[in-house]
């Protein structure tokens, strides 16, 4: 923990982006998330940490209703994005997911060309009117994904031909291409080597300027490096949620302290 990179901890914007109240998730008989309240601030990186099976990924997937795809999963409680209840019947999950992008644990590019990977989202949502516009979005997204220089000469190669780290940055670029407001990242670096991890972390810090980023991570160092806010989950409870500096230097709950000092998890 001593080699923790010092990054700016101040949260400039305090606009509330996501407000969750009393969220409960059941997987069949299992009660996976218990009464979680979280406020996620815009243009901030919020990290969810906690031991395996604590529900941090499950909670993340509530934020873009990816849990809808699991038939035995039941979500209750209130989750508002910009003041609108996302579980409301009037909200189409398709629209929600265009607004809330997601990057998965394992890089999962489509087995299509790099160009088509990025262009897919804008195409299905009809974000562009011309090929030139689409080209522009693709280039912009790849640049924001910090992978443009590596792939600009081979946009027609398959996305799966890239290395793991490149694939993950491609997936981030793909998520950005639909111009979301929130970016969810489910352990985005767990399948990457340290160099690729560093690149992705740099990218996450970069993305904070425009997006509200929520990242689930196993690595406390990573949470400390990239996030301004940290939430510690344990056994389905949100134990502690505070500024990252506070969590790591002055945890209020004994369980948080045990976890960050390596006694549980």
């Amino acid at each position: 923990m001593n080699d923790m990179r010092k990054i700016e901890r101040d949260v400039h914007m305090t606009d509330l982006k996501i407000k969750a109240r009393g969220v409960n998730v059941h997987y069949g008989e299992t009660h996976a998330i218990k009464d979680v309240d979280v406020d996620i601030v815009d243009k901030t990186v919020t990290a969810f940490i906690g031991p395996s099976g604590c529900g941090k990924s499950t909670f993340l997937r509530c934020l873009n209703r990816m849990n809808d795809t699991i038939s035995i999963c039941r979500v209750t409680g209130q989750i508002e994005i910009d003041g609108r209840d996302i579980n409301d019947r009037a909200v189409d999950p398709v629209q929600l997911r265009a607004q809330v992008g997601m990057v998965f644990q394992k890089p999962n590019p489509f087995p299509k060309s790099i160009y088509d990977n990025i262009a897919y989202g804008p195409r299905i949502h009809g974000l562009t009117k011309s090929k030139a516009e689409l080209d522009e979005i693709v280039e912009k997204s790849l640049r924001r994904g910090a992978i443009w220089d590596e792939v600009k000469d081979r946009l027609n190669d398959s996305g799966t031909s890239l290395s793991g780290g490149q694939q993950q940055r491609l997936c981030i670029a793909r998520a950005i291409a639909t111009q979301p407001e929130v970016l969810l990242m489910d352990e985005p670096c767990s399948a990457l080597d340290p160099i690729a991890t560093a690149q992705v972390e740099e990218l996450i810090d970069e993305l904070r300027r425009d997006y509200s980023v929520v990242i689930v991570t196993h690595s406390m160092q990573q949470a400390a490096r990239v996030s301004q806010k940290t939430a510690f989950f344990h056994l389905g409870h949100l134990v502690e949620f505070n500024n990252t500096g506070e969590i790591f230097t002055n945890p209020q709950d004994s369980r948080t302290e045990s976890y960050i000092t390596g006694r549980i998890g």
């Binding site: 873009n64 990816m66 795809t69 038939s71 398709v94 629209q95 929600l96 997911r97 265009a98 992008g101 997601m102 990057v103 998965f104 394992k106 999962n108 590019p109 489509f110 087995p111 897919y120 989202g121 299905i124 949502h125 997936c171 793909r174 998520a175 639909t178």
Partner: protein, 433 residues
Amino acid sequence: MTDTTNAAGAPRGQSAADLVAASLKRRHRKQVWLQAIGIGAISIAFTMLFILVMSLVSTGWQAFTQTHVTLDVYVDPAEVPVERLPRGGFADVAGASLGAMLPDVDMTDRATARSVRNILSNGAQFHLRDLVVADPGLIGRTVTIKVPVSDPFDQLNKGLIDRDTPNEFRRVKNNEIAWFDALQDQGAISKPFNWALFTNADSRFPELAGLKGALVGSFWALLVCFLIAFPLGIGAAIYLEEFAPKNKISDLIEVNINNLAAVPSVVFGLLALAVFIGWFGLPRSAPFVGGLALALMTMPTIIIATRAALKAVPPSIREAALGLGASRQQVVFQHVLPLAMPGILTGTIIGLAQALGETAPLLLIGMNAFITSAASSPFDSATALPTQIFIWADSPERGFVSRTSAAILVLLGFLVMMNGIAIYLRQKFERKW
């Protein structure tokens, strides 16, 4: 770990390493046995296959050639008057010219003349007729024709009739052998490739019988089968796999589809007979009805193959698309289905190959009829390859023995080709995730 096992089970004084060493021999022996059994099984299977193919080839290869005789026929205007065309004594003029080539033959004797004419296939006169009808100017002139000889002489030429058999037991008598040898000495006999096997439909005469009717019938039946089973099978599989709620009803449907795949094909034939012919009044012996019966049979295979292929598409691809805001329909049609297509096509081709070889349902709907012209639509009467084999295997003429084997070889050829395409597709589109 070793301590606990040792404490639990091993006699005192023996270490885990000793126990492992002691069991090694037994374990290796088991492995050697397993390998030997596997190699044995494969050898037996290959031997059987080899015997099957060799026996087919050894009898069937003769059917790929056909003995022909080349004749200079004088189209006698007295026998073939131009005003009576297309009727005329074509058999007589052909017989007369054949008789002229043979020594010591009295063509005025009616019995002898008939025997001489019997050397020629029944199709020879029609071949000549077609030439003359197409060009009546040939009347009064001499035309050279090459026509098949009748089956007994074909058998004789191929050595399938033993010349040492006593005359009274032999199909071809001594004088006829002498005639044939005389023709052979004159260089009139040839044995070219038997194109008629592929260009003629069925016939009572082996030398004229071909597979065209069966090939066309099988083609129509498979086309109907594909057009019905492929979209329905894929549609059902996509719904069951991607959209249907997982509950008791979908479980029941799944079990029943798997059961349907195991239903004997003759049952589908009975169903087709009762429903399609009995109720709907569709024509008997029609490849359309055959295709419907085969589609019933093939559909479960396609559904099962498609579901397996859809299942094999990694969930990460679905999540990626869903996470970008694709609707479920877009996920299925833009990502999952294209990735599953090679598997689906492989399953479909294997299902169709199975349908191509299927006989029982076709027998029940009358596709084993004797039909001498190829079907021009799926509603015409026709046979199919397996039923044609069934008909020929049942025929008493010697010539059908080798033709049956040849037809089986043709059928096997198609099956190997279809499975080859399936393997090629699988190899070509196989993906590493």
